[in-house]
């Protein structure tokens, strides 16, 4: 666990962690050793010389004081290390997430990573602050006590020592078997969560069909699966917990029986036996808490494993000797791109001369948006090359590449802030006048007028207070403000309403003027005036040419055009 932690975070944390563990170990040993002083105290008290107990009691008091100081120091050190590990993890994760390609962030990922980065990090890092000290103490204190017992009486000490390997073996075995069950449970939970989301999203349809949850078996089945998995986990945990308790109690029983036997035979003083039994009782309690701590450690460990998996995802490599692109021509050279097993783009070659417009048309799922994403290097190609200004995008420094491209996405994310702040994101250094001009050009004036608070109105998390069309305009304003030579436009048609689309179109028109443009079109009418149109289907360019030329050819594009324009 610790090793994993250090591997994830890097060796610079090894030293403080090791120091803290050492301190905790010393504290636990001090606690165990302090109990040794009980023996002379009890010998004096039970041996008919109560006054003789005082010096030993004073020594015990001193030992307790030492233990108290050590414990305070080790707790503090635990918290300090815990905090620095936590911060280290946040920084490591933050840096890493910032470097991961945008393509990595699917919708499901975003949800998972949000939870992982907030709750998961705390759970995983809580180990050093909260779990380490009890764990070390639960292991080391009993061992120290056993050592004391061995020194006092080898038979009884040996009897107690036998328990150690058994307890250790049970701990390890339980850990292994539980890990598998935990994983299965996690899987079931995940599955059920998916069904619940489906059930919620499909509510309108389900209700129309008169399906309440009782009749929606898919959900109920998965809820029952969760229960079954949980029961299996419980059954697999039971032997470990019972076994541990049994082993510890058997140890105590053996010490009790053996001690009684030795005392009755006169082989050992009564005071010693009683002191040893008090010590043995001290040994048992921490050991019994081990199964509890073990469960928590496993939970933290699985979070850590998930963090590790994210941190091990490779970001796109940065070029060692970055190339400066010349001009803004775009080129796809025999590009193949796979997503999982699916070939999204299959040997696509295209070029867009500087200052020209390319429109991409095709059925949904043909890979249109992927073309845009590859240009902006959200992903790297599997074969071939994508070039901007003659340079392979992999050879261009990321910041440099991004500074040349403005993208209008299909789904627009707005930060919880004002409209002005959200537009300014396009060019953080822009003046107020520039921001306003871009916003006006994108038709945002109406929106600002409508919102209480105007420019200073908050748009809510993710821009929830704006409609889809309004968010789209913010995105266009951003792109306008950025004023980049290359524009990638993933047309969002749903957001455009006919009465107002003229205004937005004027904004888009301004955005496109004089730039190199790749435009993914869903409504064919908007592609007519592009310099060139490509028809993409099944990841291949099946037709390419001007609008009239393609219509004349009577192929797929012409068919699409006919579908879109003639009444059904």
């Amino acid at each position: 666990m610790i090793r994993m932690l250090l591997r994830v975070l890097g060796p610079e944390y090894a030293k403080p962690v090791r120091r803290t563990v050492a301190l905790m170990t010393i504290t636990a040993i001090a606690e165990g050793l302090s109990y040794a002083l009980l023996v002379p105290v009890l010998r004096a008290l039970f041996g008919g010389d109560p006054g003789g107990a005082w010096p030993w009691l004073a020594a015990f008091g001193g030992a307790v004081a030492v233990f108290a100081v050590l414990r305070y120091l080790s707790d503090l050190s635990g918290f300090r290390v815990g905090t620095s590990l936590l911060l280290g993890m946040y920084h490591r994760l933050g840096d890493h997430l910032a470097r991961l390609p945008i393509g990595w962030y699917s919708a499901a990922r975003v949800g998972e990573v949000s939870v992982l980065a907030s709750r998961g990090v705390l759970d995983a890092m809580g180990v050093a602050a909260h779990l380490l000290a009890p764990f070390v103490s639960a292991c080391v204190t009993p061992l120290t006590i056993v050592a004391v017992l061995l020194a006092l009486n080898w038979q009884l000490g040996l009897a107690a020592l036998v328990a150690a390997p058994i307890v250790a073996a049970i701990q390890i075995w339980t850990g292994r078997s539980m890990a598998a069950h935990d994983a299965e449970r996690h899987e079931r939970d995940h599955e059920a969560a998916g069904r619940v989301i489906e059930y919620l999203q499909a509510q309108p349809v389900l209700r129309a069909g008169g399906r309440t949850h009782e009749r929606f078996e898919m959900l109920d089945d998965s809820l029952r699966e969760v229960q079954r998995a949980s029961r299996r986990t419980l059954l697999s945990a039971l032997p470990g917990t019972v076994g541990l308790t049994l082993a510890v109690q058997a140890m105590f029983t053996v010490v009790l029986v053996l001690g009684t036997h030795l005392a009755l035979g006169g082989h050992i003083g009564v005071a010693e036996v009683l002191a040893i039994l008090v010590l043995a009782a001290r040994c048992a309690d921490p050991l019994l808490s081990l199964s509890d701590i073990g469960g928590k450690l496993r939970g933290a460990r699985s979070e850590l494993a998930r963090l590790d998996a994210v941190l091990r995802t490779e970001p796109l490599p940065e070029p060692r000797d970055p190339v400066e692109p010349e001009g803004h021509a775009l080129e796809f050279d025999a590009v193949t791109f796979r997503h999982g097993d699916r070939v999204v783009l299959d040997g696509v070659s295209l070029s867009v001369p500087e200052g020209r417009r390319l429109a991409v048309v095709g059925p949904s799922g043909a890979g249109k948006s992927t073309l845009l994403r590859l240009l902006a290097r959200f992903h790297d190609v599997d074969a071939g090359a994508v070039r901007v200004g003659g340079a392979d995008v992999r050879e261009i420094e990321t910041g440099e590449l991004m500074s040349r491209i403005a993208i209008v996405f299909q789904d627009v994310y707005l930060f919880d802030g004002t409209i002005e702040e959200n537009v300014r994101l396009g060019r953080p250094g822009a003046s107020v006048a520039e921001v306003r001009a871009a916003a006006s050009a994108a038709g945002l004036d109406d929106v600002v007028e409508r919102l209480p608070g105007g420019w200073a109105a908050n748009v809510g998390e993710g821009g929830a207070l704006l409609s889809g069309g309004e968010r789209q305009r913010v995105s266009i304003a951003r792109a306008l403000l950025k004023d980049a030579p290359i524009v990638l436009l993933d047309e969002v048609t749903s957001a455009l309403d006919p009465v107002n689309e003229a205004a937005v179109h004027a904004g888009i028109e301004r955005l496109l003027a004089g730039r190199t443009v790749v435009l993914v079109a869903h409504r064919l009418r908007t592609v007519r005036n592009a310099d060139r149109i490509v028809f993409l289907e099944g990841g291949r360019v099946v037709e390419e040419g001007g609008h009239d030329e393609l219509l004349r050819r009577g192929g797929r594009y012409a068919e699409f055009w006919r579908l879109a324009t003639t009444p059904g």
Partner: protein, 594 residues
Amino acid sequence: MTATDLAEARAVSTPAAAEAPPSAARLLRPFAGSFAAVVVLQVIGAVAGLAPLLAVVELGRTLLSPGPIDHGHVWFVVLAGAAGLLVRLLFTAASAGIGHLVDDQVQLSLRRALAARLGRVPLGWLSRRRTGELAKVVGDDVSAVHPFVAHAPGELVAAFVVPLVSLVYLFTVDWRLTLITLIPVVLAVALVPLMMTPARRREQEEFDAAMGRIANSVVEFVQGIAVVKAFGGAGRAHRRFLTAADDFGRVFFRWVRGLSEVAAGMQLALSPPFVLLVVLIGGTVLITTGGLAAPDLLPFLLLGLGLTAPVAALGHGFDDLQAARRAVGRIRDVLAVPSLPEPVRPASPRGQRVELRDVRFAYESGHEVLRGIDLVLEPGTVTALAGPSGSGKSTVVQLLPRFFDPTHGSVTLGGVDLRELGSRELYRRVSFVFQDTVLLRASVGDNIALSAPNAGLDDVVRAARLANVHERILELPRGYHSVIGEDAVLSGGEAQRISLARALLADAAVLVLDEATAFADPQTEQAVRRTLKALKGERTVLVIAHRLETIADADTVVVLEDGTVAERGSPAELLARGGKFAAFWQSHRRGEFR
């Protein structure tokens, strides 16, 4: 703080009992017997756990007593101690086992209750919430109740009963030493107020706030990363996140630092070495002054440590219980959402004329989205809704399938207010296709038949044909039996055509449609157009129009602006009138985009 909070936490489920929906308390009632068994077994087990300690005490008394030792008695005592251990093992294991099994059942029934409730809440309520968060209530929050159900009853009761039994026993042995033994507990409790000083409270609040900030900034960082990276501003959100993290680290450490001395004091007071030290000092004083027989010290050495258990139990697992309490709160909130009231005596509509009379609606009070809409949808006609975004179009169409009820005015179908229609009846008569298409992980056929479970394959195929998706379905590996997500991945447009087929199959008299659905691809666009055409004269259609042709072909066009009807009439009338619609029409005629 701890005790009262706990009491509150345990009582948390009771107030809901008075309300109509099944509350958490009522859901737990069937398990009362099992809970009782858990508690009883746990108490027996825990008290039996005292047996070995008492055996050591008795052993000490016998061995230390002057005169010959009764071997039989000694072995009997040892045997009793060992037996106690065995009883403890069996009973606590049984208690924990039953507790966890009950927990599983409680979780299942809570989840079922939540699912049932969510199946009845107003659709509008659902549409304004994030499904992810609701799914979290059903999933994680119900799981978080685990310590509440599986651990709290048994372990908390044991943590209080055992010390109580020990305390009574110790008092019978020597009341003075008992009081001395309680000193560490008193010390620890006395330190509690020091943890609640204004400064500590402030630090605690700061800590909570910093924690909230870090959670927010991480969500924002991750969700907005595409935008942030695309605009080269990755540094900003990244910095914001790291600042929140550093801030959190600082506040956390200050909080811990502030608490550390008091906490260390408490921990020391409760630690076994300290308790033993106190007992031994007190014991030695009492023995040397002759008030206490030496063997009587033993029970204090062995049982005295257990007296700290309640205090420790309150600290231990307190975070879990707090989290469980918050989770129960969220579960209760969902269970308490009132469903759309069902009429006691559902009326049956006559005809299919839809009428909106002076309809006003506000999502939040004071901010009206619809401000007095009057609208009639004559049977068999197509009405096109147009207007700028934010004008209230989506809200109007959502009133028909009763996602919301109007805050003022009424929506009637066949002369009957929608609120007086049973929901089954309503959805039989009103079907709708909105943009957010949901396909279930089920066969394509089932997905289409979802709105009409009794439909035969012929009907399904007919609907799929009309929705332009039949041929695509036949191309799938198992045709209509292909399971979506397993055998087949459908594109956005195909999914929307399936959802269109669904609405067509429902065969409702009124169809509400958002035309934006159509723009996924030309096939979908054609399907929507075909549908509108085929249904004209047959069904009452209300469509949010995005295409000029749709508006031109509609029987009535309604232009919404700022929550009111700005213009209405047939397309020809509106053109002749020369208003907003006419102006827009002209601008479009002159040139499409560019």
